[in-house]
């Protein structure tokens, strides 16, 4: 919305007495009960529409008026989006699945341990109770856990709009700082995580000054080992660039290498050096650029070592 913000009295609402401290700009609020209705409202709103799920990223942005959408579509009453399903081929996480729901699910901990490990590091308990996985992915904060996990696990983003559904590989979804590939009127309805192949180990590590704070640096690693050789390697650095930052050079270097105890030490040191060369973090009040770069290498080694230990020694 543009122009001066009308007060409650100007709109004929009797709230001026109790609306002195109001923070978000006015919006029209809809809480549809079906996805079809939600998509219709979002489609009509176009660029002026925003989806409200857990609200742990959107509400601060509304309170600060970083965003002032004309239409807010609250999807919390759409039961069909509250779907968390672990199948033989993969895990499906609907748009209303909260971080805490993942942590309470034994199938997730067993089949997708890196996802569970990363989720324990998402903010704080009260935020994990409300915030959604799809919301974190859509928001794409560069220091968030879920975008990097989704990219590392080669997941899929399922998008819906009035024109229908489409699927995007995770890497195509993230298009830069706090940006994604959604068109106006579209929303993320589901994420899919393939089941990791046999012989896979994965780990997510991050470093923050205080538990649950935005990570200064982090890393997600996934290794698949067959007959002592690294069949595939994925390494993503968190908190450095515009979003999930895959270090392709290190992945290629690790692929087909023998990763025994001695070899892995050398290989991971080499990978860390590649990470340090590849990232280009900015200075800020929390850490200098050179410290962040160094930390990215340390996180990469920690993630790779833990991932390797979890491959089951094949």
């Amino acid at each position: 919305m543009s122009g001066p913000d009308p007060t409650g009295a100007q709109l004929g609402l009797p709230y001026d007495k109790v609306e002195k401290h109001v923070k978000p700009a006015w919006f029209d609020y809809f809480a549809p009960r079906t996805l079809e209705e939600a998509l219709q409202i979002l489609g009509d709103a176009g660029r002026e529409g925003r989806v409200l799920a857990g609200g742990q990223s959107l509400m601060p942005m509304l309170n600060f008026r970083i965003l002032s959408p004309a239409v807010v579509v609250d999807i919390n009453r759409i039961e069909a989006l509250n779907r968390l399903h672990a199948g033989t081929d993969g895990l499906t996480v609907g748009a209303l699945v909260r971080h805490a729901d993942l942590l309470r699910n034994p199938d997730v901990r067993e089949g997708w341990p890196m996802l569970a490990e990363a989720t324990t590091q998402v903010a704080h308990m009260a935020i994990r109770n409300r915030g959604t996985v799809c919301g974190s992915v859509s928001h794409n904060d560069p220091s968030a856990e879920h975008p990097s996990v989704l990219v590392t696990m080669d997941g899929t983003v399922v998008i819906a709009g009035t024109a229908g559904r489409r699927e995007l590989p995770a890497e195509k979804f993230f298009t830069g700082m706090l940006s994604n590939a959604l068109e106006p009127g579209e929303m993320v309805v589901e994420l899919r995580y393939p089941r990791p192949p046999i012989g896979t180990g994965a780990a997510f590590v991050e470093f923050a000054r205080r538990l649950g704070d935005f990570a200064i640096a982090g890393a997600a690693a996934m290794l698949t080992i067959r007959d002592g050789l690294c069949e595939s390697a994925r390494l993503t650095i968190v908190g450095m660039g515009e979003g999930p930052f895959r270090v392709h050079a290190a992945e290629e270097m690790l692929t087909k290498r023998r990763l025994g105890p001695k070899e892995s030490q050398d290989a991971f040191a080499e990978a860390a050096a590649m990470v340090v060369r590849a990232v280009d973090p900015a200075d800020d009040v929390h850490a200098s650029s050179s410290y962040r770069r160094h930390l990215a290498g340390v996180m990469a080694v920690q993630a790779l070592e833990t991932a390797l230990a979890r491959t089951g020694g094949r």
Binding site: G8, L11, H21, V22, D28, Y29, A31, Q56, N129
Partner: protein, 159 residues
Amino acid sequence: MAREQRIQLIVNGRAYDKTVPVRLSLADFLRDHLHLTGTHLGCEHGVCGACTISMNGRSARSCLTLAVQADGADIITIEGLRAEDGTRHPMQQIFLENFALQCGYCTPGFLITAIELLRDNPNPTELEVREAISGNLCRCSGYQAIVDAILTAARKELA
């Protein structure tokens, strides 16, 4: 238009039926409309944890929840912790005994968080307590007394 909406909800066991502006936060609703001013507001963007309430049995930031989203919800605030006769909740009593508060501004959020922690994990380690309260900022107690209080509460409940 969709700028105000009727909500029906339970707060501390009492049913309310109100019409509210859609942009009103649950925190402001509790404080300004229901006059339950025990829910404190520090940062109003989800960082400090002072406004933490229990919504349908789970802790939530009331500054990051719209009042309209609480339609149909069952909310517990700090005012709902003590018994009908005014007796303190055991966690309140233990906070008092352990000097786990000074100015008290953050305390409502800490109590809601601590009670949820012990419900989900009756025997937490010190690290688990510190992780659980990491989303609540206290600027005067220095946390140690709060951690002690929660661990004491866990031991008492197990005993």
